[in-house]
Amino acid sequence: MATQHSRSAARIMMAPAVVLLLGWMLVPLIMTLMFSFKRYLPLRGGDLGWTGFDNYIRFVSSSAFWPAVSTTLIIVGAVLIITIVLGVLLALLLDQPMWGQGVVRILVIAPFFVMPTVSSLVWKNMFMDPTNGLFAHLWRFFGADPVAWLSEASVPSIIMIVSWQWLPFATLILLTAVQSLDSEQLEAAEMDGAPALSKFGYLILPHLSRAITIVVLIQTIFLLSIFAEIFVTTGGAFGSRTLTYLIFQRVLESQNVGLGSAGGVYAIILANIVAIFLMRIVGKNLDA
């Protein structure tokens, strides 16, 4: 339907969005790159000149670096696995005929509306607190010693909180996909005498692959940058420091902008590796 007129109109109408996003991407990126090659301590002398790759070397050789990278990947990976596995199961359950489906659906998606600061605080204090938390009550009820969740099992605790926040999203997308499954196909499979497990493996799971891709893509985007959940719960202590949080500490807590910026560049590189990988899959899946 394109004519020269509409094509040039299209370019003009896309320009604001493209220019804004390009600016939003490039300006801070270039500044970060510049700072990363400088010794820059805002509270201790400011800009102290170029230092080459010093910041990069220091950031990587810091004992906190590799643990932060692995914590990041563990959290992202674990949350993805948990939300997708539980999400598929939940979607299949919610797809069954039942009474009050609408209400159940709302109950299930509600955690998505809770701001991360609130859910972190609620989980941290009211559930995971080792003396007064609900879990502590529960443990004592069964005669077990309460667990100091956020100090003894900080990463699993954070994974649990974040999974609770993102399970609704995964469930809803997967549920929508399950509902769009052709019921005639399922009936045909039933006529062919396919057992439930192979019906799931050969019909349902392949049908869900596009939805799963979307869940992975969108959740990864958000999970790579989780911040409030750590800021509020552990403050990065007890081995729960992600790359994001480490950089945040370097920049704002120790006021070393040069070092933090170098970390930022690493984070950007990591994000890009993940992004390229994801875009490949998504690009392919979005064609369908």
């Binding site: 339907m1 394109a2 004519t3 020269q4 007129h5």
Partner: protein
């Protein structure tokens, strides 16, 4: 006024040449039908006239004024789309009023025209409904109403009847033809259905692969198709085309005889064959004849009901004065 002229128009999509250089003049008040198999470029041609598609080269003029670079909104043409393209969020009244609203026409004039169009199209009772609440035929009428009220210099129809069921299609065909008689406005109508083309057109443009195969009145096309393609495309059932020895006898590479121009006999005749399937329509009988040694199958059309059985031997008597002859290049030999 509504004279449309295409000069050396071409269209390429990427590397694909959809329309090679093409010239065509559509006179004021003419009902012109573009007909051809799907993918022949007829819709593309219409969309180029509408301004929804650029020309790759060449020019289009409307009423003698070059309109090649005029945006669709300014060409003064109205279009009826295959999907009707009604605005689903607007009532029928608002749909019909939309082009006038865009033209900033005074409100009372708008209302006068809406009432007139609604009356002419039997839509008066439906003016406050949404398109979603209407039947296919009614939607079609709304689309036409929306086109009429602008009083365009020409109407463009893009396969407007193909989404209707058979019975409605015949009715709408008559209505559109009558509308043309009444308005005397230029109409360009795209269809793949040769029956629509034959029954509605003043002038038919037969297209294949972007090339105009023949331009002429319906009867010109029926009686003297310029080539084998037009010969087999126009007319139903299709003209029988016979190659080889039998054609050579008539000094042609291919001869064609229409099913309705062939008589049958159970006892004697020019060609002998075996009856295959016969289709009884009541008014006519189509007999498909095999094993003639001429072509895989020869179809004949006999008035009234003829009792023949599958497997009967049958003799065919073509009316030789109605034989069409084509050369090796597929072109007509007179």
């Amino acid at each position: 006024m509504g004279q449309i002229q295409l000069n050396q128009v071409t269209k390429t999509f990427g590397n694909v040449n959809v329309i090679p250089p093409l010239d065509l003049t559509i006179h004021d008040g003419e009902f012109t039908v573009f007909v051809g198999p799907s993918g022949c470029g007829k819709s593309t041609l219409l969309r180029m006239i509408a301004g929804l598609e650029d020309l790759t080269t060449g020019s289009i003029s409307i009423d003698g004024v070059d309109a090649t670079d005029t945006p669709p909104a300014k060409r003064g043409l109205a279009m009826v789309f295959q999907s009707y393209a009604l605005y689903p969020h607007m009532s029928v009244r608002k749909n019909i009023a939309f082009p006038m609203r865009m033209a900033k026409m005074p409100e009372d004039e708008q209302n006068r025209r809406i009432e007139a169009a609604a009356k002419a199209l039997n839509l008066t009772d439906y003016l406050d409904r949404r398109p979603g609440q209407l039947s296919g035929g009614q939607r079609q009428r709304v689309a036409i109403g929306r086109a009429i009220v602008r009083e365009p210099s020409a109407f463009l129809f893009d396969e407007p009847l193909s989404n209707l069921d058979a019975a409605l299609r015949v009715g709408m065909r008559l209505e559109i033809t009558e509308m043309h008689e009444r308005l005397k406005t230029t109409m360009i109508y795209v269809t793949h259905d040769q029956v629509e083309a034959m029954t509605m057109a003043d002038k038919i443009v037969v297209l294949r692969a972007g090339i105009i195969e023949q331009v002429g009145s319906p009867l010109e096309l029926y009686h003297s198709p310029q080539n084998e393609f037009v010969a087999s495309f126009i007319g139903s059932p299709k003209m029988n085309l016979i190659k080889g020895e039998e054609a050579a006898k008539h000094g042609a590479a291919t001869i064609g005889i229409r099913p309705e121009h062939t008589g049958v006999s159970m006892t004697e005749g020019m060609w002998k064959g075996r009856v295959g399937v016969s289709e009884h329509l009541g008014s006519d009988t189509f007999i498909h004849v095999h094993d003639t040694g001429l072509a895989d199958m020869i179809t004949v059309r006999i008035n009234g009901d003829v009792q023949v059985k599958h497997g009967d031997t049958i003799y065919l008597n073509p009316e030789l004065d109605k034989l069409h002859k084509f050369g090796a290049d597929g072109k007509r030999i007179d």
